[in-house]
Every structure is written in C-alpha cells, then in structure tokens.
Amino acid sequence: MPDGVALTLSVLLPIGIVLGVFLTIFALLTWAERKALGRIQNRLGPNRVGPFGLFQPIADALKLLTKEDIVPQAADKVVHFLAPVVTVAPAFLILAVVPVAKGFVPVDLNIGVLFALAVSTASVLALFMAGWASHNKFSLLGAMRAVAQVVSYEVPMVLAAVVVLMAAGTLSSVGIVEAQRGFGGWFICKPWGLVGFVIFQLCAMAEVARTPFDLPEAESEIVAGYHTEYSGFKFALFQMGEYVAALTMGGITVTMFLGGYLGPGSDLPKIGWLVSACWFFAKLGIIIIINIWARGTWPRVRVDQLLGFAWKMLLPLSLVNIVAMALWHFAPNKIAGWLVSAALLVAAIFGLVKINAGKAFEKRSYRFIS
C-alpha cells in the first residue's frame, strides 16, 4: 500500500468507526429512552415497528427526512439554515478526544479535556442562532434561557474538571485515564472525585439541556423553545445534536471520573482492546441510564431555581472541592487525606444547603393579589 493511502486510511478509519458506532448508539438511545420513559410512566412505549419497536428510530428518520421543510417568512434565512448545522458540529467534534478503548482515540491531543470543554461551550451559539433567526417570541425566549443556562453551568463544570486535572497532572484524555489505574484508582472513589463527578454530571445535563434542566425547550411553557420553527430534517438535526452531545459529554464524564476504558481484563494481551471497549460502553450505559432516570422522575426546575442552583450551590461547592483536592494532595498519608477532604466537603455541603434553604421556601407575594 502506498504511504499516502495508508496515512489517509489511518486518519479516516478511526473517524469512520467512531462516527458509525456513536450514530448507532444514538439511534438505539432514542428507542431506549422512549421505552424506559414509557415503563416509568406505566406505558409500553414504542412497540409496533419491528421486535419490541426496535426499528422505530429508522421509521422516525424516514418520516423526518420526507417531511416538508418549512421556513417562516419573517425568518432570517441564512442563520435559520446554519443553526442546525452548527448544533451538530461541536457534538461530533468532542468525539475526537474520547478514548473509547485501550489505544484507540481518534486524536490524542495533549489538551484533550480542555478541547472538549471549549467545544461544548460553542454549542450555545447554535441555540441562540436558532432562536433568534426564527423570529418567534417563544423561540427567542428559549434561546435567551439557553444562553443564560449554559453560561451559568459552564463555570462550575470547568471548576469540577480542575480537580481531575490536578490529580492526573495532564490535560490529555488518555493520560487522565491512565492516571486512574489500580484498585480504587478511579477518581470517583475519592471524596473530591465523587463530589466532582456529581457536579460535573449535573452541569453536563444542564449544558445539553436535558430534563430537569430543559428550560430552553420547555413544552409546557414556551411550545418547543428555540426549535419551535423547525421541521423535517432540520428538527432531526437538532434532536441528533442534543442526543450526541449527551452521549459525548457522558463519554467525557466516564473518561474523567469513572476510569474510562479501564477495568478488570482491559490489559489482556490479545483481547484487551475488546474488553476495554466493553468497559467503556458499559460505563457510558450507566451514565445514560442515570440521564433517562433523571428525566423520567425529576420535575423541571424554575428559572430562578436553575440559576440559583448553579451560582449559589455548585459554584461554591466546586471551589471548596479544589481546596479539598489540595489538602488531599499535601496530606501526610492517605487516611489523613481521606478524613480531611471528606470532612471539609461534608461540612461545605451541609453549610451550603443550610444557607440556601431559607430562600427556597419563602412565602411568595403577588403584586395584584392581596
């Protein structure tokens, strides 16, 4: 094989594999989510197309592809067209740095995690473009909610990631996974890692606007939010962007806190890559189940609760978490580190809950009702 062809193949093959695998998971995820939500709500969920309704995603895709594409007359045509494209792009770009198996990562950037965080924040522009270009009151409301929400949750998310970077001493996603080797080496098994994981997971859910943080597209308040004026394939692209973003953020969470592809048997000589890939996707599955479970059981929060939670609870907690990590790092031995950082974090959580509790249940007064 000539060198040029080999080089092109070595670049394109991992991209092709990752895109294929994640798009298949995306299709299955839409089915699994509807099925699981159905069970939670005592329904059956999709069960007509194929065995257990498994072919439902294909039917949905065909339906959306053949639907008429409607652009409102007053819409800003160019921006309206660009918004779905810009939504999908960052979601897929993050995949480039997620190590899905041992020795398999499309691009091993030495700033992998920073790249993922940076790209995921760019998605907010797409939501705004969609909402603004539609020239619809509900769309604009949804877009402004999305912007406020993503900007607020970006801060604790990056700060929650800082502890992982401190522990691993590198920004490379492969380096972070390799730093979690050994029994109990996963960062979630440490006090600061557990708190960081919870903060990061909540922020990731808010960042991709999933229930209970789905205010940008709250059906019962603003029709469908920023994608009210989209139909057909553009609507499908929004759905795809959202689900793929949820998947890739889950992948980043797994990489940073759950030990990525590590697990018993992931270092075996011949089949290590397969075992490690199974471990990665099993952990990703757990994150997805948490997402669906939260969507099925938690009510949507109010706007003031949403922003208050980010600024008054998660932000101070993530700052305390960094201090706890520093104490852990400089503690004379492991037990002292455990005790000190765990005590600090428990005290911080209780303190913050106590400080914030008074505001949440204030008697509300209405101006025009005596």
Binding site: V79, I111, A118, T121, A122, L125, L171
Partner: protein, 168 residues
C-alpha cells in the same frame, strides 16, 4: 505558505471584514465568531493547541455571549434605522490608523527575537506544562496581581447587583 494557512487566513479576514461591514448586529456578531474561530485555527496550525482551545473557550464561549447579551439590550438590532452608508465620514482616518498599526506590527515582528524562535520548540513535557511552570515561577507576580484584579471585579459586580435589589 501552504493551502491550509491561506484558506484559514481568507476565512479569518472575511470574518473580520464582515464583522464591521454588515448592517445587522447579530450578523456582525456571528461574523466576529467566525473571525475568532479563524484565529483559533491559526493557533492550532502553529501547534499552540492550548492557546487555540483557550481562544475558543474564552472568546466564543464567554466574550461572544457577553456581546450577545449587550446586543439584546440595545435597539435597532436589524440596522434599518439611521443613514445607510458603506463608509463612514472619517474613513480616511480609519485607513490611516490601521496602516500605521500594521506598519508598527510588521516592524516589531521583524526586530524582536520572537521571530527567530517562531516554530516554538516545546520541551519534552509539552506546551501546557511549560506555560504552567513559567506562570508560577517567572510570572508569578503578574499572575497574582491579575487574580486579585479579577476577584475585585467579581466582588464589585456582586455588590452592584446587590444594591439594586435593596432599592426596590
């Protein structure tokens, strides 16, 4: 000068020109984002991955969103009011200033030692570790001053916001 560099530069310049010439403020912002992306691309092209990612995180994730909030608080977003002129009255002044700035920058990059170091050779530990170590050794005083300044600005913003709620 390879094809990637030329394409990136063309996109960057196009974004910059559109950002100052379009009528609609939101379009201007989107063009500005294109320009920021082009700059980030240049950083990546120069193997400065860290700067590239930070460029996206700060300029697109934060600065562009801040400008967005500012635009949403203004009138005449569509740019339909007011005079429609391709060039402002004092366009020659702008051309003069930009020509002077460009000349100054070219002269400075020719003179400075940076030009000779241009393909920056990172040590074995990588660019990120180099930057980190320099920040907490040689540049620790500026770093701390910046941290204090930012904290003061943050507290100031909170204080301003607090007073407004008390007045009501």
């Amino acid at each position: 000068m390879n094809a990637i560099f030329l394409t990136l530069s063309a996109v960057t310049v196009l974004g910059a020109v559109l950002a100052v010439s379009l009528r609609n403020l939101v379009h201007c912002l989107l063009a500005l984002v294109l320009f920021f992306l082009g700059i980030a691309g240049h950083f990546f092209l120069m193997r400065a991955d860290f700067l590239g990612a930070v460029q996206i995180l700060i300029y697109i994730g934060a600065v562009a969103v801040l400008i967005l909030f500012a635009i949403m608080l203004t009138r005449n977003i569509a740019g339909t009011e007011g005079a429609r002129r391709a060039l402002g009255g004092a366009w020659w002044l702008g051309v003069g200033v930009s020509a002077a700035l460009a000349g100054l920058m070219i002269a400075m990059t020719r003179r400075s030692e940076l030009a000779s170091k241009m393909p920056y050779g990172a040590t074995e530990e990588g660019v990120v570790k180099d930057i980190g170590k320099l920040l907490v050794t040689d540049w620790v005083v500026p770093l701390e001053i910046m941290a204090v300044l930012l904290t003061a600005a943050l507290i100031g913003a909170v204080v301003v916001a607090l007073e407004e709620t008390k007045k009501r």
